[in-house]
């Protein structure tokens, strides 16, 4: 019984889904993704996890990237966007997720009946 451990397992299992969801809305850069996820303690993830994950998703063909200069005079940012393959992967994940949510709420419903 360890809530911390359970939470970190959820985080590990859903990070890829969260990152792809964020990128599906529009191209985003690493720091932007990390600060978005930071808004929720359950999702907050470190740089040393997010950046390698982005590289892996790119190598697997789910993402492409491009460098873009900033208006604020900061160094260029590396933006990631979904490939068609990545979008199909994300759609499949969404379906799985909906199935999981439904299964859990059915389990909760079962308990209420008893």
């Amino acid at each position: 019984m360890n809530l911390e451990e359970w939470r970190s397992q959820i985080k590990r299992g859903t990070l890829e889904f969260c990152v792809l969801l964020l990128i599906s809305a529009k191209p985003r850069y690493g720091y932007e993704l990390i600060s978005r996820l930071e808004r929720w303690p359950t999702l907050a993830t470190k740089e040393s996890t997010v950046y390698p994950l982005l590289r892996r998703l790119q190598k697997d063909g789910a993402l492409t990237s491009f460098w873009q200069d900033t208006a604020e005079g900061l160094p260029p940012r590396k933006y990631y966007e979904l490939t068609d393959e990545g979008r199909a992967y994300l759609d499949a994940m969404k379906a799985e997720w909906a199935g999981l949510i439904e299964a859990i709420s059915e389990l909760e419903g079962d308990n209420d009946d008893e």
Partner: protein, 187 residues
């Protein structure tokens, strides 16, 4: 330390630790991190706050390498070494450590359970006046009487059971450490 000094030192260290990766990939990684550090600095974070956030250079580089060891199909001596070390450890364990600890665990537990039972049988027979010449508690040339023998047998039994449990725990710990190492190897 000024921001520029910090950035140079920190990214230099990350770069050095990533030297196993192709140059192009390394440059890309370092530029991406540089972009985030500039972003954090623009928000007013000091070099030490930035380092606290990113983790030290070693930790950060390990994130990339951990992924690389598991995913990269390319050959590397480090990977070969890790795999060889793992299978030597697991193989040696399978041949020597696991059989010894698991057999000892079973033997100790069995003897530990039987010992006090025999002591009790001896004591009951003595009280009932039945002669059991081949059951006694003996240490060297000295033989304990049935009552003392029962106490000693019980103590011996407890010690044996404790040993059995310790061996069993060692068996479980070894299996856990092997499967932990395997997971690490697979990323």
């Amino acid at each position: 330390m000024t921001m520029n000094n910090f950035m140079e030192k920190y990214l230099g260290e990350v770069d050095r630790r990533l030297r196993r990766l192709p140059v192009a990939e390394r440059v890309d990684i370092v530029n991406e991190l540089k972009s985030e550090i500039a972003e954090l600095a623009a928000e007013g974070l000091s070099p030490s706050e930035i380092e606290a956030r990113l983790g030290n250079a070693k930790e950060l580089a390990a994130g990339y390498l951990g992924d690389a060891i598991a995913k990269s199909p390319r050959f590397s001596w480090r990977k070969l070494g890790l795999v060889a070390a793992f299978y030597s450890y697991a193989g040696l364990g399978g041949i020597i450590i696991l059989p010894v600890t698991s057999i000892c665990a079973a033997a100790f537990l069995l003897c530990g359970a039987v010992c006090p039972i025999i002591g009790a049988v001896n004591l009951v027979c003595e009280l009932a006046g039945i002669d059991l010449p081949w059951v006694m508690f003996q240490i060297g040339g000295w033989t304990a009487g049935p009552a003392l023998g029962f106490v000693l047998a019980t103590v011996t039994g407890a010690v044996l059971i404790a040993l059995g449990i310790a061996c069993w725990k060692a068996t479980v710990a070894f299996i856990k450490s092997v499967s932990g190492a395997k997971k690490k190897l697979e990323g």
